[in-house]
Symmetry: C2
Subunit: 260 residues, 2 copies
Amino acid sequence: MPVASPAAVKAVPPPSGRKVPCEKCPLRDIHALREFSAKELEFVSEFKSGELNVAAGTNILLQGTNSAHLYTILSGWSFRYKMLPDGRRQILNYALPSDFLGLQGSVNDEMQHSVEALTDMTLCVFPREKLWQLYRDYPTLAFDLTWLAAREEQILDEHLLSVGRRTAMERLAYLLLVVFQRAEEVGLTRGNALQLPFTQQHVADTLGMSLVHTNKTLRRLAATKTFRWKDRRFEIIDREGLARIASYEAPKVKARRPFI
Amino acid sequence: MPVASPAAVKAVPPPSGRKVPCEKCPLRDIHALREFSAKELEFVSEFKSGELNVAAGTNILLQGTNSAHLYTILSGWSFRYKMLPDGRRQILNYALPSDFLGLQGSVNDEMQHSVEALTDMTLCVFPREKLWQLYRDYPTLAFDLTWLAAREEQILDEHLLSVGRRTAMERLAYLLLVVFQRAEEVGLTRGNALQLPFTQQHVADTLGMSLVHTNKTLRRLAATKTFRWKDRRFEIIDREGLARIASYEAPKVKARRPFI
DNA sequence: CGACTTGTTGATGTACATCAAGGTACGTGG
DNA sequence: CCACGTACCTTGATGTACATCAACAAGTCG
């Protein structure tokens, strides 16, 4: 039975009162994100209740609990995952700077998934109870949230296609490609290189494969020389080649993506 | 290679001008759905551009195209799916009455998935260009859309866990259970029985398995006598038993679900 | 005209050989 | 100690082939 390494559950620390003013939000430098109007900026500043620094390995959200907070990632990597009672783990998606966490908590009493920090992170914290105010007074921001939810859905669709119907090679090629592209979008790459914070066990749990098989497949895929991955440093060499192996075509995005 | 039966692509007919007034919307009888205020009802009536009757097998939305319309299902079953260039098909989710289709088209230029009617259906049609008006003037409805998107995400999460980490038996038990529960929610069941409009090929493409293996697993699962399924008639006998086999726990929903 | 036969098709059920993926074990190197 | 790499054996899943059965259409005969 494929059982993931038992994740040590670290609880989240309380949010610090510290509030970097939103005008100086580091996310505003990211070109792929839309800009806020002065009025929006003012509201978001007010909406924000503080910042949170969490260490790698911390569980930001935990399956079976409820969270009074919503988060926007300011820096660092994390992943959403679910676990079965016997410890089998499925990683659902990775979350990078500008991604939004916790919206599902508005539908269910209890979170149906967990989120764990892959690296040290900084999070922007919003109280869930003010969410309604956002919908009432800031339709542009409300639309942004829907946009983000629909985008998450679209990523999950593609991921499900991978796990359900792509071969191990295809899956792996697809994952590496997509992760690189998403990191690139938010400025985490330097040229064709990227610091990849996850292990082969993470990859295995993302693609629904065993660790051993992931390793073997990774070796076979590396032989195509479409990328290099050694000691956390990932370098993409032949993007089109990877896409071809994955039989994946990147969707065209309609507009610059929003962030809250 | 597991290739789905080649789906004949039938185009959607143009929406009929016919508009059943929203006060008489058949969905309003469903207890699980929230009620609309008079003002909301008035707007939705205006938002609605017509109705659409489609035959089983019709593609309501098509991967790679863009759709000017959004749909709420008034009656009938359909499924969202993606296909790889060589014909491998992954069914992402089923859509039942009160479910909303097409929101992803607001994020991407082109649809990244298709939707096919499983049975004859009636759809309520909305023009996408009026969506912004809804966000601007009807925050409660905007919130409903977000709620629906978050719910879809939650279903996909669980589905991904299934395909990635559950065994064939568990997957199958999970699917049958969840489909029954969703049908029950919108009043499509009679006691413990349900008209199931899909074939074993659909099940296979949903769970990421081959047709043959689906059939064998279905036989083994049927031997547990937790359900009966013959000639489109599905009867659930031991719900808790199925849930135990699937190691699945149904999430608690926070509020009565909305529909547009 | 209706009843019966025949052929076709789609869905299901099963056998068997093959193969991709899993599990265990035991390396290495940092 | 943990992440990675690899060998070896096992098993779960696939692909192909073929059989059954019901639904349906077309054609034939009394």
